[in-house]
């Protein structure tokens, strides 16, 4: 009899957890423009694989990786993120080395492997804001880009043109001297399946 009551208890709490889960799912509604650490999979896989140990942040020499509280929904509580305008990723790949679960895959610190494996986002230039497009040669984003001429190319008057291989580290957005910034990284994780 005791065991049966216990099983009933278990079943009903399972049902209750389903209902609670719906609530938590509803609370998950990303409204921020953030990047996941370099090499991360799409959002769904990332959330499933990450155990929220915080070691990626503890290994980031640039202190770019921060951690969500409840602002991005309960499902991404304590998961790592990067706001490129505040502090961008320098593509050192240390977080992938230390990640125990493969949520951030291990990627070698080589230009080829980084171009292959990292798809944090893609930079986009606002031509109306960009100084170089207004005739005031600037070119700061190009100087900041870790993959110049591979990810970002400049025209005669230093106008930036983002190339397909841009990995979305955000160093251009961080360096932009316009306020608001004329070059922005559009994250990949929201569009990827």
């Amino acid at each position: 009899m005791k065991r049966r009551r216990f099983l009933q208890y278990l079943a009903s709490s399972g049902l209750a957890s389903m209902v609670a889960g719906e609530g938590i799912k509803a609370a998950y509604a990303p409204s921020m423009r953030y990047l996941r650490p370099p090499g991360s999979h799409d959002e769904k896989t990332f959330l499933a694989k990450c155990i929220r140990c915080g070691k990626c942040g503890e290994s980031c020499p640039n202190r770019a990786i921060k951690f969500f509280s409840t602002e991005n929904g309960l499902a991404s509580l304590d998961t790592p993120f990067i706001i490129p305008r505040e502090q961008a990723c320098i593509l050192c790949m240390k977080c992938g080395d230390i990640c125990p679960t493969g949520a951030i895959p291990k990627i070698e610190y080589e230009a080829d492997t980084i171009l292959d494996g990292v798809h944090m986002g893609h930079a986009r230039v606002d031509v109306n804001l960009c100084l170089s497009f207004q005739g005031k040669t600037c070119g700061v984003c190009y100087r900041a880009c870790p993959l110049p001429d591979v990810a970002l190319r400049v025209g005669m008057l230093e106008q930036p043109y983002v190339l397909d291989k841009c990995v979305g580290c955000g160093l251009c957005e961080r360096s932009c001297i316009q306020i608001p910034q004329a070059i922005k990284v559009i994250p990949n994780h929201t569009s990827a399946s």
Partner: protein, 329 residues
């Protein structure tokens, strides 16, 4: 002669001091590592002259602390992380609960990660819930909180010591696993105190403030004070549930030596988990913390290698009840 006292001589009673030493060591490592991380970032930025006075203090003290051991601050990467998942000189160790939760959340087996839990898993199979008593950084705070409860009680404030159903925590574990599958996110990290402690200390030191987990942890402290002694560990903690299950047939367990026992029941008071050493009732909840051994005035408690607890052995042979029975028969 009042000053001639029979001192208990067993060496096992010192294990409790050793346990406090390991608990505090783990806790201070969790505080030290974020500072070392800050020091590493200062070094990486080559910006010593630009640091604020506080940052310079951190940098200087960490440099003097670590320079005898390592030349390059980057070598300090050898020790990273928390008890939830950490790297120790190339050896990656993870909490078995992290692995179980992650396997359920991602519904896939990532062996490099699963293997990191093997050493803790093996130790748990041998020693039971030893993690809860010996390593868990939250245990340190919970035990201090329990001392606080004693003072509060002495001061006349109400401290509740209700008994709940121990099986609640298995329900928490099961529900958490179901929810992890359902939501596709490892939820235990948010409600598991040692994971919270490790993270929150790092947030507070390196990122400038506590996160949401700190609030949850404070609530568990209040739960321990206002509902039940060590209530969270005993009744709610999913990690405790997992370790209890794993340690059910542990080899090393505490056993009462009935010929030395005098029925003083100090062990039952010392046991924060509300177990009953006096009646030989340890069960799967015992975390081998050895607090009862340290409290025993006659050295009647010690370790044994056995898969099961012994059945109730009757009243202690040095106690009144046993003597009465002997005279009666």
């Amino acid at each position: 002669m009042e000053n001639v006292k029979l001192e208990p001589s067993s060496k096992l009673r010192h294990l409790n001091k050793l346990r406090w030493l390991t608990l505090t060591t783990v806790f201070f490592m969790l505080i030290l590592l974020p500072f070392i991380y800050l020091y590493q970032t200062y070094e990486a930025a080559h910006a010593y002259d630009l640091l604020t006075p506080t940052e310079k203090t951190i940098s200087d003290s960490m440099e003097s602390l670590t320079s005898p051991f390592v030349k390059d601050p980057e070598e300090l990467d050898a020790i990273k992380g928390t008890t939830w998942s950490g790297t120790l000189f190339g050896l990656k160790l993870s909490d078995p609960l992290a692995v179980v939760g992650q396997v359920f959340a991602s519904l896939s087996l990532y062996w490099p990660f699963i293997l990191t839990a093997f050493i803790p898993l093996f130790a748990t199979l041998l020693l039971g819930r030893f993690y809860c008593g010996w390593i868990c950084p939250a245990t340190l705070i919970y035990e201090l909180n329990d001392n606080l409860a004693v003072w509060l009680r002495k001061a006349g404030l109400p401290v509740s010591r209700r008994k709940l159903d121990r099986r609640i925590k298995y329900v928490v574990l099961a529900v958490g696993l179901i929810l992890s599958i359902y939501l596709g996110a490892a939820l235990f990290a948010s409600i598991y105190p040692p994971a919270i402690i490790g993270r929150e200390i790092y947030y507070a030191i390196a990122l400038g403030g506590f996160g949401a987990g700190a609030v949850f942890f404070l609530l568990t402290l209040l739960f321990d004070l206002m509902v039940s002694r060590r209530g969270f560990c005993r009744y709610v903690c999913p990690g405790g549930a997992l370790y209890s299950l794993l340690g059910r047939y542990r080899l090393f367990r505490i056993k009462r030596n009935v010929t030395k026992c005098n029925d003083c029941a100090k062990c039952n008071v010392a046991c924060q988990f509300g177990l009953d050493p006096l009646q030989d009732d340890f069960g799967m909840e015992c975390n081998n913390c050895t607090a009862c051994i340290a409290s025993c005035p006659t050295d009647a408690l010690g370790f044994t290698i056995n898969m099961r607890d012994s059945a109730y052995q009757g009243p202690g042979h040095l106690g009144h009840q046993y003597k009465k029975e002997q005279e009666g028969s």
